[in-house]
């Protein structure tokens, strides 16, 4: 009976550590709670680096109710008359496949070695775009690039 108790204690110890780590990873203990459903207004820049410096879409003010780097990209679709396709990557979560017809969607033009990557205020995202929380006034840049 004491062996069962010891096993239960062992399982509880390792799982408490693991669950604590996961909660920390997802920002559960952060004071500024990562609420992605707030309304934000940010600047959106979409650069097609395969086409040269002049081919850039710039939206000074996009308002979205999904306050993430991905949300602002979706929010600009109507104003910018472009479409976005995304998929769920095996390991990295949400992965933007194409923007405005460039990328790896079925009918898209695909430039070899080019992928859609984003930055917020010139800092690489580091997490999937639908988990990167943005705030009012941020500059979100989506680059179709082969420079990683």
């Amino acid at each position: 009976m004491s062996e069962v108790r010891n096993v239960i204690i062992a399982v509880l110890i390792v799982n408490s550590l693991a669950i604590g780590g996961i909660l920390y990873e997802i920002g559960y203990f952060d004071e500024d709670e990562s609420d992605i459903s707030t309304i934000v207004t940010a600047k959106l820049v979409i650069k097609f680096k395969n086409l040269g410096e002049n081919d850039t879409l710039t939206f000074e003010s996009i308002t979205t109710s999904e306050s993430t780097a991905y949300g602002i990209l979706l929010g600009g679709q109507t104003q910018g008359s472009y479409s976005v396709t995304a998929t769920t990557h095996y390991e990295f979560g949400l992965f933007v496949e194409s923007i405005a017809g460039w990328g790896t969607c079925g009918n898209c033009q695909d430039e070899d070695g080019f992928y859609w990557l984003y930055s917020v205020n010139d800092n690489d995202g580091g997490v999937a775009a639908n988990r990167k929380v943005i705030r009012d006034g941020d500059v979100v840049e989506w680059n179709y690039t082969d420079e990683y």
Partner: protein, 190 residues
Amino acid sequence: MVETRLPILTTSIMLFALGFLGRIALHDYHNFETIMVSVFLASMLLPASVAMTVTLSMIVLSDMYLGYFGASKIIIFTYTGFLIVSMITSGFQHIIRGEFKPGTVYKFTASGLIFATIYDTWTNFGVFWLSYAHTPENLVLVYILGLPFMIYHLLSSIITFTVLGFPIYCALSSKANDPQILNQRKELEI
């Protein structure tokens, strides 16, 4: 050595169901999956060849169900990653195995951490190889970018290996002093 107290086919089907159904049920929770622990259990409880068959079938069939099969060359690395885990487990199962004791819980915890690390290191290398220019800087970059996902995978592996893997292993594994097993072994020796 076969360690399961149930027939091999029954154990295989149970572990296949754990990996296949668990992966589909947890599909929305990235890096939280039951394939790894099923691969581990299959390699602990079944002959190596059967364990590999169970491993491949649950990955391929769940990939087909989820629409991943053939969608990307990364599956070469994900499939071989699980096969590497299967082979290493089969090779070291005599060290990992244990009874219903806290020490076995810790062994399973360590196994989850080690195998998730091996798997993620290999598949991240696959991401580098398939998607990036082959430079040392990019290799480092891929591993840095993959770190948040890897940490999450490590932590979730602790949970799946101890909450699912350990009790299932204890329930399915044969006891060394089980008279029935001893008789079977004697018969085999004769």
